[in-house]
């Protein structure tokens, strides 16, 4: 039985794991945004003129749902001010002038006993600023804590189903033992006996390598999966590995599963065994504006402008900067924006990748329905969206869409389907918030009358 889900698409993968990992030289100035996670923004802990060390904590928020940020170089703080964020907008950031000494400030590695204590591991995960590095950037400690007791199956996500990206694959190949130890830590923190490591079979060399290291001794089983997008989606991983289906609007923990990405596990290894906080990762740079793909070990806070120079400059004028993979990645608005913890790829696209048409017309082919992994019917959802018919949009479960982009990808007429549903979901949330506020106001008015 091959492990997979229903629906999905086969994009042109454009992967280049054979390109060896190069080190992107740290820039003379790094920009560390105070928001690199889902949750409360960090407050800067440093001020202009302070000297900071590499790995030093420079931003934090004491509320539970948050993750601290750390300096990726050593040097002097030259500004604490709003700067362009890769996801748009201006966000409070700490700008550090690099002294190129890389003077570290490491946390002490966990002791033997601490490595077996879920609480100590979780504390370290939080302290090291580990977030979901598959791109969602949800604080990992919060996620694991929320699942303890409910979760009986831990799933490690090694699908890397997005085209172009190679970071997970190269982590498996270059640091297999460290990765397995990292997964073991996640398993201990989750209080489960076994972790299932789902890897798409286009990474057969990595599967063989990991299997040769006897993953069973760490309580890990490798699950080979069919190569299909969006295999790496949380719900699809749960379905492929366990056969369980996450309820609409629910979380994987609702069906006893927790999904953690490959790169997150490696970050947890580094945090616990080496005392390192999250300040660098392998990022894939690609797109037709570059000479060729680059797998660059990149410090958090490196501006895109610097990256483009390090990759040999542009051979063509880019039209889009895509963050992450091309299926779910959104566009950056500025070359001055830096990479963050969740950046798995930065793609510089030109007209070549663009298949935009001026007046898209639906031909009712139904190809969006056959590929939707959530069993939705995008053709009707779009029809009701263009009429502004909320009642029917809800009836066709627009809120279940997790914006994987399969329908838009497969649409021969090039309809902006995913775009419409993303917009519709935001409008729905606004509408619901308004209705709630209105109901509360009415209740308050009634109360006042009494």
């Amino acid at each position: 039985m091959s492990h997979t889900f229903k629906g999905g698409v086969h994009p042109n993968y454009m992967k280049a794991p054979e390109v060896p990992v190069t080190v992107i030289a740290p820039p003379s100035q790094v920009v560390i945004p105070m928001i690199q996670h889902i949750g409360a923004p960090c407050q800067p802990l440093v001020k202009v003129g302070d000297y900071v060390k590499m790995y030093q904590k420079i931003g934090e928020n004491p509320v539970p749902v948050s993750a601290p940020v750390h300096s990726s170089v050593s040097g002097k703080v030259i500004a604490v001010e709003p700067r362009p964020h890769p996801l748009g907008d201006m966000i409070m950031s700490v700008v550090i002038e690099n002294d190129f000494q890389d003077t570290p400030e490491l946390m002490p590695p966990l002791t033997e006993e601490q490595l077996k204590d879920p609480e100590a591991i979780l504390e370290r995960i939080r302290e090291a600023g580990v977030v979901g590095m598959g791109g969602a950037m949800f604080p990992t400690a919060v996620k694991i804590r929320g699942g303890i007791g409910k979760v009986d199956k831990l799933i490690i996500n090694g699908a890397e189903c997005e085209p172009y990206l190679n970071g997970d694959h190269l982590t498996m190949l270059n640091f297999p033992t460290q990765l397995l130890k990292g997964i073991e830590l996640v398993r201990i923190a989750n209080c489960v006996e076994k972790a299932y490591y789902g890897i798409e079979v286009n990474k057969q060399d990595a599967i063989n390598l990991l299997n040769s290291l006897n993953p069973a001794q760490y309580g890990i089983e490798i699950v080979p999966e069919e190569v299909k997008y969006p295999q790496g989606g949380e719900k699809m991983q749960v379905k492929a590995v366990t056969g369980r289906e996450v309820k609409p609007g629910g979380l994987p923990s609702g069906v006893g599963c927790n999904v953690v990405s490959t790169r997150t596990c490696y970050a947890i290894y580094q945090a616990c065994y080496e005392g390192k906080s999250v300040i660098e990762r392998i990022v894939t740079y690609g797109g037709s504006a570059l000479k060729g793909p680059v797998n660059g070990l990149t410090r958090v806070g490196t501006p895109f402008k610097h990256i483009a120079e390090q990759c040999g400059g542009f051979v063509k004028t880019p039209r889009k900067i895509v963050l992450g993979g091309p299926m779910m990645g959104i566009c950056a608005t500025s070359f001055d924006a830096p990479t963050v913890k969740g950046t798995a790829g930065v793609l510089f696209f030109t007209e070549e990748e663009d298949r935009h048409v001026e007046n898209p017309t639906c031909i009712r082919c139904g190809k969006c329905i056959t590929v939707c992994p959530m069993n939705l019917e995008p053709v009707f959802m779009y029809m009701y969206y263009s009429k502004g018919d909320y009642e029917n949009m809800e009836k066709y479960h627009v809120m279940d869409c997790f914006e994987c982009g399969s329908c838009s990808f497969n649409c021969p007429a090039r309809m902006p389907l995913t775009h419409a549903f993303k917009t519709a979901k935001i409008m729905f949330q606004v509408k619901m918030a308004k209705e709630k506020a209105k109901a509360e106001a009415e209740a308050a008015a009634k109360e006042a009358k009494k």
Binding site: V9, P11, N12, P163, K235, K239, E245, V246, K247, P248, G250, T317, P318, R319, K320, P326, M327, M328, G329, I330, C331, A332, T333, F335, L347, E353, R355, V357, T361, I363, R364, C365, G366, I369, T370, P373, M374, N375, L376, E377, V379, F380, K395, Y396, H397, D400, E403, G405, S406, S408, F409, N410, C411, P412, A413, R414, P416, T418, H419, K422
Partner: protein, 343 residues
């Protein structure tokens, strides 16, 4: 500062940033390619005239599409090749000896009245080519019912026109010796341009399946239903299996099931809906062939099912990911309980 440097303007768009290479035009081109074997068989048996008819038909369809859009000051949609497909399909459902002006009249009705008046590609609710054929059947019944003799049969048959295999099935008379399964498979029979050779149509259908232009659901359900019903009910003078095979291979059934019933705009998009639609087409075809006033039932069967498409799609709205059968049953039970409580 770098004032001389060209300022790069960045596009910002929601995902996905890449798209499949298959677009509307490519799909239409694949349909045209898939119809080529059938057209080639007609040329083989009837000379170049069917090809000329097809070219006139395509040219007139494109002209009407272009002219209407121009007149109404709308964007030109000739480039998507859908008018070419309509023109070609309409030619393929005309007799091989149809007069040259017939496809022009048919295309006017198909393109302007059926397709463009409802908004153009994707918006029409009847298959334009079949609606055009129905229009011509009503207006020029004599021409549409007269079939020329193929080259392979000139020695065996006297005269210029002859009866089709389907008319033998309709009257219940025994099939003449020169209309065996082999002739039906290869297309050495009288009939419409595109419906001669079952083999050529199956090759085209295989190509469409391979290029994922169509799925097996509609043609499978359609042909399956016809096969099962014919096998069960049979006919006097024919063995049940023979009767079923003759029914599958004669008339416009193959052309209709593979190319007409699968028309995107006029068939359901829901997966189970497609199955029901196929079954409906099949049942109506058999019903008309057994009891109707015409020998052929495919045209009207598909047109009638076209009209049911919207309702079928509404009825087969599927359950989203994560909703199990138990959930649905529980929901139904809760509704029932609520109703009873209200009473």
């Amino acid at each position: 500062m770098s004032e001389n440097k060209e300022r790069i303007v960045l596009d910002v768009a929601y995902q996905p940033q890449v798209r499949t290479a298959t677009d509307t035009k490519r799909i239409m081109l694949n349909v045209i390619l898939a119809l080529m074997p059938a057209l080639a068989v007609a040329v083989w048996q009837y000379g170049l005239y069917p090809l000329v008819l097809a070219l006139i038909s395509v040219a007139s369809a494109v002209f009407f599409e272009w002219g209407y859009r121009k007149l109404m000051k709308k964007t030109c949609t000739v480039g998507d090749l859908s008018a070419c497909v309509t023109g070609l399909l309409l030619a393929l459902v005309l007799p091989t000896n149809a007069p040259w002006w017939l496809p022009i009249i048919g295309n006017f009705f198909a393109i302007v009245v059926v397709k463009q008046l409802y908004g153009g590609i994707g918006k029409n609710f009847l298959n334009p080519a079949l609606a055009g054929r129905a229009f011509l059947l009503a207006s020029y019944a004599a021409i549409m019912g007269r079939y020329a003799v193929p080259k392979a049969l000139t020695a065996a048959v006297d005269g210029v026109t002859m009866a089709t295999p389907l008319s033998y099935l309709y009257s219940g008379a025994a099939m003449p010796g020169y209309m065996g399964f082999k002739s039906l498979l290869l297309g050495t029979i009288p009939g419409c341009i595109g419906e001669l050779s079952t083999l050529a149509l199956l090759i085209g259908g295989a190509y469409l399946l391979a290029t994922k232009v169509i799925s097996w659901r509609i043609p499978g359900a359609y042909l399956g239903t016809v096969a099962v019903l014919c096998l069960i009910f049979g006919h006097e003078g024919y063995g049940n299996v023979d009767w079923m095979l003759y029914n599958l291979m004669s008339g416009g059934l193959m052309l209709g099931a593979i190319f007409m019933a699968t028309d995107y705009a006029t068939s359901p998009v829901t997966l189970n809906g497609q199955l029901l639609y196929g079954v409906g087409c099949g049942a109506l075809t058999v019903l008309i062939r057994y009891f109707g006033g015409f020998p052929e039932g495919v045209t009207y069967a598909i047109l009638i099912m076209n009209l049911c498409t919207w309702a079928i799609d509404k009825g087969f709205h599927r359950h989203q990911f994560g909703v199990t059968k138990e959930d649905i049953a529980a929901e139904k039970a809760a509704k029932k309980a609520a109703k009873e409580a209200a009473k």
